[in-house]
């Protein structure tokens, strides 16, 4: 009887230590879950809520036409970065026909590191749903925008500020669930 009484406090101190150890372990698990559980291959854009970079780039269709960052002013622009060498862009392209029906936005594009002939053939074959298309042959405009792979899509507000960058295909789901609410918010800000 006296033996079991001696053991009890001993057991209690061990279990208190055990609880602390388990709690510490859980804190680590939760911390690392949130640190590591994120998709770190998707890089956040550095341009969010900043002005789109300054540029002067020629039009894909008509090289005599040059566009600057002023093209964004006064409209909400959905700017797609695409190329004929980009497999996902073939998957994404038909969706632009749907997105272009949205009357609140200008759907436009940057043809990124591409061949002019191939790009024009792509649009002729599959339909051109972009109101204008910048020809970024050397990819320097893409670097200004922090592009690291096509397709990427930027949402730019009427003040020329980048509001969102999506990496990957903008299908109906992505457009309806991410872009449309943001477009509505930008419209409300204007009023």
């Amino acid at each position: 009887m006296s033996e079991s009484e001696n053991k009890t406090p001993n057991n209690r101190t061990i279990s208190a230590k055990g609880i602390i150890a388990v709690l510490l372990f859980l804190v680590f698990v939760v911390t690392f879950y949130f640190l590591i559980g994120q998709d770190k291959t998707e890089l956040p854009s550095q341009l969010i809520n900043r002005s789109a970079p300054a540029f002067s780039v020629k039009d894909l269709h008509d090289p005599s036409v040059t566009y600057t960052q002023d093209v964004f002013l006064g409209k909400i622009t959905v700017l797609n970065v695409w190329a004929t060498w980009c497999p996902s862009c073939y998957v994404e392209h038909p969706y632009w026909e749907l997105h272009a029906k949205n009357k609140d936005v200008v759907v436009a594009a940057i043809n990124y590191r591409d061949d002019r002939k191939k790009a024009l053939k792509f649009l002729a074959d599959r339909g051109n749903f972009f109101q204008w298309n910048l020809f970024d042959e050397k990819g320097r405009l893409g670097i200004e925008f922090g592009v690291y792979g096509a397709p990427e899509t930027f949402l730019i507000d009427p003040l020329g500020k980048v509001r969102y960058r999506h990496v990957g295909v903008v299908d109906t789901d992505v457009f309806e669930s991410i872009f449309v609410p943001m477009i509505e918010r930008i419209k409300q800000e204007q009023n």
Binding site: T31, L43, R113, R140
Partner: protein, 143 residues
């Protein structure tokens, strides 16, 4: 005859070794696309391309990567070095566009402070624990 075959097999590792040497020298040749008049600029170019991460391939630096984007970024580093920009200006240019992620040696900030401090916290905890254990053992010896 048997002995000949044996010696051929013995020679194989050397053959593989020399094949590796050859392929290593061709890999080096790719890096030598950029020519510098000033060896100091070349040193800085090598240092910068080792410090910058390829945003596309993510676990390679610009020096090791031959992705199209890395080639573009290397070309920009080359241009900027020749234009007389400092290393910090070039790193800032990359950081502005691709974020801190592009630096292989990340700076200390709020989001990674715990990661930087972690080893030191552990060291203190373990050191403290060891010291307590040492004290209690010394007490036992005294008794």
């Amino acid at each position: 005859m048997k002995k000949n075959a044996f010696s051929f097999l013995n020679f194989m590792p050397y053959a593989v070794f020399f094949a590796c040497l050859l392929s290593a020298s061709t890999a080096n040749a790719v890096i030598d696309v950029y020519e510098f008049d000033d060896p100091e600029l070349e040193k800085r170019f090598i240092k910068l391309t080792y410090e910058l991460r390829c945003p596309k391939c993510q676990n390679q630096n610009l020096a090791d990567s031959n992705s199209e984007l890395s080639l573009d970024l290397k070309a920009i580093v080359y241009e900027k070095l020749n234009a007389g920009e400092t290393d910090q200006q070039i790193l800032d240019f990359m950081k502005q566009r691709y974020g801190e992620f592009i630096l292989f040696n990340p700076e200390v900030n709020q989001s990674n402070a715990l990661l930087w401090a972690g080893p030191f916290i552990f060291l203190i905890l373990i050191g403290g624990g060891f010291f307590r254990w040492y004290l209690s053992n010394r007490d036992l010896d005294d008794e």
